[in-house]
Amino acid sequence: MAAAETRTGTQLRNGAASLRGLVRPIPLLLAGAVVFLALGSTFSTIFAQQTVAGLAQGAVYSSLALALVLIYRATEVINFAQGEMAMATTYVAYQLILWGLPYWGAFFVTLAVAFVFGTVVQLALIRPVQHKSVIAIVIITVGLFILIDGLVAWKWGADIKFMPSPFGQTVYHVGGVPVAQEDLGTLLVVVISVVLLWGLFRFTKLGLGMRAAALRPDAARLVGVRVDRMLAVGWGLAAVLGAVAGLMAEPAAFVLQPSFMQPILLYAFSAAVLGGLESPIGAVVGGLALGVFLNLVGQYVPFVTSEIRLPFAFLVLLVVLLIKPSGLFGRARVRRV
């Protein structure tokens, strides 16, 4: 009896879902964008070049945006220090390379350091005020921003440092389009990090526990999930993603200085909001879209010079939010009570 009743219920719901699927505008829009980029790339070499470079830049935004989203989902605040944490870990890599470690050795040691760093920040600074107020956490992250900035400048100096790129200067020709090895490498590293992270959340017990802890901490405790530990691990993972962003952003910026992650944090913030702030996929797509869009606009629209790139990014963000306040991938959840 109950089974029959619920089965028709499911069919109805599935029917409704597939109907909605047909007219869902966002995937359509994205598919359109991909077709546009592919077509444009076959017609114009410069267009193709700018698209690939934009994807590489966007990948960096995606990575940091994803870090912001991870923290937002778990702690419900924007970690304003995320970019500076990434900057600090990039200096760690710089130091390790100075000490003679090969680049990729330094890369992985830095990721480990970043994980510990993120965990310690959560345990020492965030946890004590976690249940008190959201604004307290926000202020702590802002304070952390300034603290890290100062500490890095004190330790390494505020002057410009030079760090080698992990990728060579080779330029490949893919169907006549010159593609920099650096862009491909950046894309590849970010894609691998994101896929690994997705797998962790999707398939492992730790990932399931982290998702449960972020969604409903009280209910998670009742099934034995150690929520505090999960939140600390979450901050650690976010810091690792940030470190990847920092390390991949540095070669494009050519120089290392304490402020180098600040514009990238703003782009990442836009990407995260564009994607819907709660949505990891949204953050990744938002970052890539922003990177490509800004590059193409910079190429083809004369008045968008590098000086007004950032304000222009925010203009786009504003327009998107006016049309769809929950962001591209934010959704009003269907809940049955």
């Binding site: 009896m1 109950a2 089974a3 619920t6 219920g9 499911t10 719901r13 017990k205 399931l208 526990g209 998702r211 449960a212 969604l215 409903r216 009280d218 209910a219 998670a220 405790r221 009742l222 099934v223 034995g224 999930v225 150690r226 929520v227 959840r333 269907v334 809940r335 049955r336 009570v337």
Partner: protein, 236 residues
Amino acid sequence: MTALLELRDVEARYGPVQVLRGVSLEVPEGSVVAVLGANGAGKTTTLRAISNTVRRSGELLFAGEPLGHRGPEAIARLGVAHVPEGRGTFAELTVWENLRLGAYTRPGSSLRSDPGRVLSYFPWLEDRRNQEAGTLSGGEQQMLALARAFVQRPRLLMLDEPSLGLAPVLVTEIFRIIRELNEQEGLTVLVVEQNAHLALQLAQTAYVLEVGRVALSGPSEELAAHESVRRSYLGY
């Protein structure tokens, strides 16, 4: 029968409001015990005191171990599965992920090694395994919560108002499953319920709470025959 769970003079408060004023009760191993009472009598708070999700004091013993300062996670790991009011299912996770969370505290995954056991009680879960739990009906969510608690392989299952907001047919179905879990799996159950009629049929022992104290207790048949219980809770 020895007591699996024992509460002696347990008090609990939300801020300045004292809700439990000295509750003592025993849950024998292998039995079903019901806690009855009007709204605000402290039924839900009793369960929350056991899983330490409310500020409480007094003596709480589970299998001889004091629960004292153990956190909710640790108490779950001792073998107490608490299905809270509102079911505690994760709406955003799939049905199967909810079940995997049940197995969270078990070494390895009891779900992977033995999905048949939970599916024999809840066969429909198989078809719905990839559906988001939030899209299930209220009755289905209650069953999922029950299934998840069962996957936890607890020594004590605590249910808070399993009948709340459900159609009578589903309520009967859920109580049938609870009875089966008790009889076939030997699972000890502590159930809080507004529907005194069903609860007294299911439980061997029952406690009636009134404003944070145990007003009456005893074997279910005796309570069902008791004048004031009949009038206040059974309505005849």
